[in-house]
């Protein structure tokens, strides 16, 4: 894990060194004079050689110091923490909603294999996969914000405005993120359950008098969870960093917008820190998924990784 992160720091640093664009001239614009630019570069520590800057950065990371944002001039950690309070609840809400929708639908579709309810569920899931989430998001905005005026069109009220106003501003984004995710998850659940219910032990359980429902929900589902949890892990990593389009549609101040803005403004320190942080998050999520494998399947315990 540590080695993966170390390699990530080298790659990120090198890529951003090559990337054309100077943070100082971006901030000072077209009229800036050369002495002003070098004064600002010195202020940001950009006049030092690359190797020195790399080690300063990595050592800073190790001691928990993420540096100072070039553009905002505040500690990067402050910026990221503010954004995490938007992105993390959004990701959690979206994954919970998509799981709550997808797993029952997937199981129902599997148990009614090739019957009309299966066809309807799979039809909708096909639609959910096909519809781009930003388009769906705009549709939701037009209906619920512009026409019905039930919900705000975007923006984030902030947690200090109260729990419900904050939650309300995350509602439409959550739905627009969760729906396409749940479409994929429902498909995966369905095929995983379908595979399992043809296994001998399900027939044995049924023969021993276990009801059809109980066999499905207690025996089949648990065994079908391995691929489902794998996909959920991937989806959660995606939700943490990949919500940039939805954050733009709803102008939410989340991690995705921060990284996008930082790249275009050449706030390179923020970009570097975020990439490392997100790599770490993905590694941790993968680890949690591995742990969940063992919880789901006792055979995997004690024998190392699956």
């Amino acid at each position: 894990m540590a080695i993966t992160l170390l390699v990530a720091t080298v790659v990120v640093f090198l890529v951003l060194e090559i990337l054309p664009g100077d943070p100082a001239s971006f901030m000072l614009g077209m009229e800036a004079q050369e002495d002003t630019l070098s004064a600002l570069r010195a202020q940001m520590g950009l006049d030092q050689p690359a190797l020195v800057r790399y080690f300063k950065w990595v050592l800073g990371l190790l001691s928990g110091d993420l540096g100072i944002s070039y553009t905002y001039d505040v500690p990067v950690s402050e910026l990221i923490i503010e954004r995490i309070f938007v992105s993390l609840p959004l990701a959690i809400l979206a994954i919970v909603l998509s799981t709550v929708i997808a797993i029952p639908l997937g199981v129902i579709a599997a148990s009614r294999h090739n019957k009309s309810s299966d066809l309807i569920i799979m039809g909708f899931s096909q639609l959910g996969i096909a519809i781009p989430n930003f388009w769906f998001a705009m549709l939701l905005t037009i209906v619920f914000a512009v026409m019905l005026r039930w919900l705000p069109a975007g923006g984030f009220a902030g947690w200090d405005a109260g729990f419900f106003p904050a939650l309300t501003s995350l509602l439409l984004p959550t739905v627009s993120l969760a729906l396409p995710q749940s479409a994929i998850l429902a498909r995966v659940t369905r095929s995983a359950v379908l595979e399992v219910i043809q296994e001998d032990y399900i027939r044995t359980a049924r023969a021993k008098g276990v009801s059809r429902g109980s066999a499905l929900w207690n025996h089949a589902l648990r065994n079908a969870m391995i691929p489902v949890v794998t996909i959920m892990g991937l989806q959660f990593s995606f939700l943490l960093a990949g919500t940039i389009i939805i954050e733009n549609v709803f102008y939410l101040p989340g991690i995705g917008r921060l990284i996008f803005q930082a790249i275009s403004q050449r706030d390179l320190i923020v970009v570097k820190d975020l990439v490392i942080l997100l790599s770490a998050a993905v590694i941790i999520i993968n680890f949690i998924v591995d742990v969940l494998y063992a919880v789901i399947d006792p055979r995997l315990r004690g024998s190392g990784h699956a």
Partner: protein, 495 residues
């Protein structure tokens, strides 16, 4: 009996509700949409227009201020006198002005602010504005004398820029995140990435603002901006990001749509030292090949005024040169033949992100193709543009809007990305600097406009329009933007 009582209670309470709602005063808070989030809130340490759009005139004030018509007005300096040799300016400051943190604003602050901007380690993006200043001296608690080292006709205008606002020594270093000025609004809160809040300064030295609170919401996406306006989440967008949505707002009685002008000359910048653009005939051929109205219609949905030189049409010294190169393909082909390119040539056009550039670039490419000039379109980010095009002048053509007011002087610079090096033009600008009379200045400016047009230094396209949309009950917002600011000091609700 019971019924009668109930009705009575009902009527009385209905009356109270009615009265209280009609007695309710008009709204006193305004939510305004802005496209770009400022990197920080110190106008003396950054070029981003997004900074001035929030703090200029609202939070920070300078010695002078630029009004809605682009004229210089007194601000912290209530009056001034200019010596006969035009080199000494004596500013008399308003008395009793306090910064938002309660400290007094006096001559010391003015001396500090100007010296700070001029200092060697200064990070002022417009340091050039302060170049003519030889010294700044306090001659009384509320009197400052500024001595110039050369006659500078536009000095009072320069002092009205956001980059020249007066700050306090105690708070200057923290202005980026907690701006402390003297204006009618105080900074209250900044939720990064989301919104910035200002509240009324009740101890303001001048006329108090009518609004008690102003919130700037950051909405970068044009589609999201439309929804936010339509849903009533924001009351006003002084600079709406999508001209294509104007018709939609016009047809909605809830909104006032106000198209104003800006200081943005949008031009097809040309690298004047790079072949074949070093040949004046090639540049003139391109000028004939461009159809400005088609570019305005296609890229800006009809909003924008054609220009024939690098000068704003609303300025009194403007000369209409749009007829100098009437769209004429035959003429363009002939000039190309004379220049030695009968079959045209290939070139690269680098386009920065704004839609005027990206859309305009595609239209220009198709227009120039008609005379055999094949453009390869390369989209670039701003940071890349600044480095490759602006700094290294590694480009053939690009499109950009020059938004600084009265910036025709950039053509006289030794080193500027057009690479237009004309001693004749430089002499003309020098003469302008030393001329103080208005009529004489205008005559020189007219000559300068003609010179740029004759030599077709750049492709002069159009003056960028300002697309304002706001709730029809909001009054007092600026129609035009002579400086990039959202001056809210006179804004109020009628309802």
């Amino acid at each position: 009996m019971m019924m009668k009582k109930l009705i009575k209670v009902f009527l009385v309470s209905a009356g109270i509700i009615f009265l209280s709602s009609s007695a309710m005063a008009a709204k006193t808070s305004l939510t305004m949409g802005v496209v770009l989030e400022p990197p920080h809130l110190d106008p003396t340490a950054g070029a981003a227009a997004a900074i001035d759009e929030i703090v200029y005139a609202n939070v920070f004030e300078g010695l002078t201020q630029i009004d809605q018509n682009g004229a210089v007005q007194p601000a912290l300096a209530e009056s001034w006198t200019i010596s006969d040799d035009k080199l000494t300016y004596t500013f008399n400051l308003h008395k009793g002005v306090k910064f938002h943190d309660g400290t007094d604003m006096d001559a010391d602050d003015v001396v500090f602010s100007l010296n700070r901007a001029m200092a060697e380690g200064s990070v002022n993006a417009q340091k050039g504005l302060f170049k003519p200043i030889a010294s700044v001296n306090k001659t009384g608690p509320h009197t400052v004398v500024v001595t110039l080292n050369q006659v500078t006709g536009g000095f009072l205008f320069s002092m009205g820029w956001g980059d020249a606002v007066i700050v306090a020594e105690e708070s200057a270093e923290k202005n980026k995140s907690n701006p402390v000025g003297t204006g009618p609004f105080k900074f209250s809160k900044w939720a990064k990435g989301s919104h910035i809040e200002l509240v009324r300064n009740d101890n303001y030295w001048g006329d108090a603002a009518k609004l008690t609170k102003a919130t700037f919401k950051i909405i970068p996406d044009p589609a999201a901006a439309v929804s936010a306006m339509m849903a009533g989440d924001v009351d006003a967008f002084a600079n709406f990001p999508a001209p294509e949505s104007m018709e939609q707002f016009k047809s909605d009685p809830r909104f006032a749509v106000v198209i104003g002008n800006t200081e943005g000359e949008t031009i097809l910048s040309t690298n004047n030292t790079k072949a074949p653009f070093d040949n004046v005939k090639v540049r003139q051929a391109m000028a004939y090949a461009l159809d400005r109205q088609a570019i305005i219609d296609g890229a800006m949905f009809g909003y924008g005024t054609p220009i024939g030189s690098h000068f704003a049409p609303h300025h009194p010294a403007y000369v209409d040169l749009t007829g100098r190169y009437e769209h004429n393909l035959a003429m363009a082909r002939q000039l190309l033949r004379e220049a030695g390119f009968p079959n045209g040539f290939k070139a690269v056009i680098k386009l920065p992100p704004p839609s005027y550039a990206r859309r305009g670039g595609e239209i220009i490419a198709s227009q120039l193709k008609k005379v055999g000039i094949e453009l390869e379109i390369v989209p670039v980010e701003w940071a890349q543009w600044l480095k490759q095009v602006f700094k290294a002048t590694d480009y053939d053509l690009t499109i950009v809007s020059h938004t600084e007011p009265m910036d025709i002087g950039i053509y006289a610079r030794d080193k500027y990305y057009f690479n237009y090096k004309s001693p004749k033009f430089q002499a003309l600008m020098k003469k302008l600097d030393q001329t103080v009379g208005t009529d004489e200045r205008y005559a020189i400016l007219a000559e300068a406009q003609k010179m740029l047009s004759d030599e077709a230094v750049n492709g002069f396209l159009f003056q960028l329009a300002k697309h304002g949309v706001w709730n029809k009950d909001v009054k007092g917002l600026w129609e035009n933007s002579p400086v990039q600011a959202n001056n809210l000091t006179k804004v109020y609700w009628t309802n």
